[in-house]
């Protein structure tokens, strides 16, 4: 039988090994992606890759490898979804934290989380069956699979993130802020606008960044309703093919190890770096707030 000291050491060793092993696995994933994706740039110059307007790897003779139209597709869709989700999200957060009563809040918060629980493929289905026919009818288009439709649906997906993080930020503000403002004769709305909002601003930016990260990475919705045409989009009524959708469409058809395969990994790498930076910034902001506002 072990004595308790050996046992203690073994248990410590067990947790350390599993912990460190898991961390190595997670690092390994991205090392693997990096090695596969970075290979692309030995054959395609980064300028051609990032600034080329044509993505046509299967072209006979001279394939083109520019992902600019894909990046623009992603950015349009992300921008469109935020235009919808930021005002709605902030309004919702202010309502939940400052206006609604406790009972209403207890009821509404799970409902908002439920929206986050709906799988993206189900929202994509709603997009195909309901929203895209509606949009094509309202705007007189031949079909409704375009940047606008996908922006609206992705906006719905991003909404819960923005509401719940901004609401956390607002609720965490000390009551002294509210009381001092009201004591000076401010109305509730003046208090929210002039006292709470400035104090919460960085946290709200963090919430928006997290939402942006989700929008950039969304795959199923855009695959189903963005239209996926390869041409450079000129308006929100054009079909777009964001980076995520492009990977999903092409990865099953490429020859393993070919340049096309590696280029898709390079796109994956771009996505990874974009979302990582966005999440990183929002995390730093939230950490700083937690340290600054220790009340």
């Amino acid at each position: 039988m072990f004595n308790y000291k050996t046992k203690e050491k073994l248990i410590g060793l067990f947790f350390s090994t599993t912990g460190i092993m898991t961390l190595l696995i997670l690092i390994g994933i991205f090392a693997f992606l990096f090695v596969t994706g970075i290979h692309t740039f030995s054959e395609i110059t980064p300028t051609d890759f990032f600034l080329g307007e044509q993505w046509n790897p299967a072209a006979y003779g001279e394939p083109s490898w520019g992902i600019l139209s894909l990046i623009i597709g992603t950015l349009m869709m992300a921008f469109g979804s935020l235009v919808m989700a930021i005002p709605m999200g902030l309004a919702g957060a202010i309502y939940l934290s400052e206006i609604a009563g406790t009972k209403t809040r207890e009821l509404l918060k799970p409902a908002i989380e439920m929206i986050a629980g709906i799988p993206s493929v189900v929202l994509g289905l709603i997009g195909i069956l309901f929203l895209s026919p509606l949009i094509s009818q309202v705007f007189g288009l031949s079909h409704g699979l375009n940047a606008l439709t996908s922006s609206v649906i992705v906006g719905i997906m991003v909404l819960p993130t923005i509401i719940s993080i901004s609401e956390d930020v607002l609720t965490s503000l000390p009551n002294e802020f509210r009381e001092a403002s009201l004591a000076l004769g401010a109305t509730k709305w003046q208090m929210i606008r002039m006292t709470l909002f400035p104090a919460a601003l960085s946290g709200i930016v963090a919430a928006i960044m997290l939402g942006l990260g989700r929008a950039i990475g969304e795959t199923m919705v855009v695959l189903m309703v963005a239209g996926n045409a390869m041409a450079m989009p000129t308006s929100f009524f054009d079909p777009v093919r964001p980076m995520t959708a492009n990977i999903a469409i092409e990865i099953k058809e490429v020859v393993t190890g070919s340049l096309h395969y590696e280029a898709l990994f390079a796109i994956g790498l771009v996505l990874f770096v974009m979302t990582f930076i966005v999440n990183f910034i929002s995390d730093i902001i939230i950490e700083n707030r937690a340290r600054k506002y220790k009340w």
Binding site: M21, M114, G117, I118, P119, I126, A248, F272
Partner: protein, 284 residues
């Protein structure tokens, strides 16, 4: 000139109606799925094998079963590893810059798009390890994706246990593991469980990664080993919605969506109940 009070009234009505709109969107989605899909959901739909020729003759049992197996696979891969890693990071690792950086990196990994995990799974598990498109490759892929979620959630609930609990235990002469076992884990257990269930329910609805690592629209038999391909509800409804020619495809896609959403919402409701109980009990 509009007075401050009427301005406030206008804004507050706007905020309230926005909130009502958000809830209305949720209700609309649920009602749309229910209204369109309930017609095809019956016992036959739930327990029969999928019939490829006449989709009205069969059911989605293999897809339900596949999603269930996948959930089991993902839990086996990610829950134990995730919890052990969180215990290591929060209880054993020294609190220094390196640990803080690692925690930050893991939180960020939780936001990496699922499709990125998908191409990794394809390249590494399916092709490099030669697991092919299979249940095990998909479980490992989704497991890797869920891991950062579970670590983050577990770590947060471990961190929420006040340090005085640990100190009190040490003061009585308990060892580190005795302290963790008797004074830390019992108080963070339900928090860890809610994190794990939420992660699992999100993994069950994921579609993009499994497209690449073994989900298939139709197989005639249930998967008999981890190396078989499998059907899964999200992929099933994706194909029905986008690539199927049957006139009934739309209804069947909605029916599948209804079953999937019902399953995920039940898990979510369980989490809410658990969390509600937790908050009532917690007094520190």
């Amino acid at each position: 000139m509009v007075s401050e009070h009427s301005k406030q009234k206008i804004y507050f009505v706007f905020f309230q109606s926005t909130m009502i709109l958000s809830v209305a969107i949720l209700l609309f989605v649920l009602i749309f799925i229910f209204y369109g899909g309930a017609g095809v959901v019956n016992l036959n739909f739930l327990v029969n094998m999928w019939s490829h020729r006449e989709i009205t003759q069969g059911g989605i049992f293999p897809a339900i079963f596949g999603t269930f197996l996948l959930a089991v696979g993902v839990s086996v891969v990610s829950i134990p590893l995730g919890i052990c890693t969180a215990i290591y990071l929060n209880e054993y690792a020294k609190e220094n810059l390196l640990t803080r950086t690692i925690k930050l990196a893991i939180r960020n990994l939780a936001g990496v798009p699922s499709i990125v995990y998908g191409i990794f799974g394809l390249a590494f598990f399916a092709l490099f390890l030669k697991l092919g498109g299979s249940l095990i490759a998909a479980s490992l892929t989704l497991g890797c994706m869920t891991l950062p979620w579970i670590i983050t959630a577990s770590e947060e609930s471990l961190k929420a246990v006040p340090n005085s609990f640990r100190e009190g235990s040490y003061a009585l002469g308990a060892t580190k593991w005795q302290t963790i076992k008797t004074n830390v884990l019992p108080h963070s257990f339900s928090g860890i469980m809610t994190g794990a269930i939420l992660g699992l329910s999100r993994a069950m609805g994921e579609t993009a990664p499994i497209i690449m690592v073994g989900a298939t629209f139709f197989i005639a038999h249930l998967p008999s080993s981890p190396f078989d391909k499998f059907m899964a509800m999200p992929y099933h409804l994706y194909i029905l919605a986008t690539q199927h020619s049957s006139p009934y495809a739309r209804e069947y896609a909605l029916g599948t969506a209804l079953v999937l959403v019902a399953l995920i919402f039940m898990l979510n409701l369980g989490v809410f109940a658990l969390r509600y109980n937790l908050r009532k009990k917690k007094a520190w």
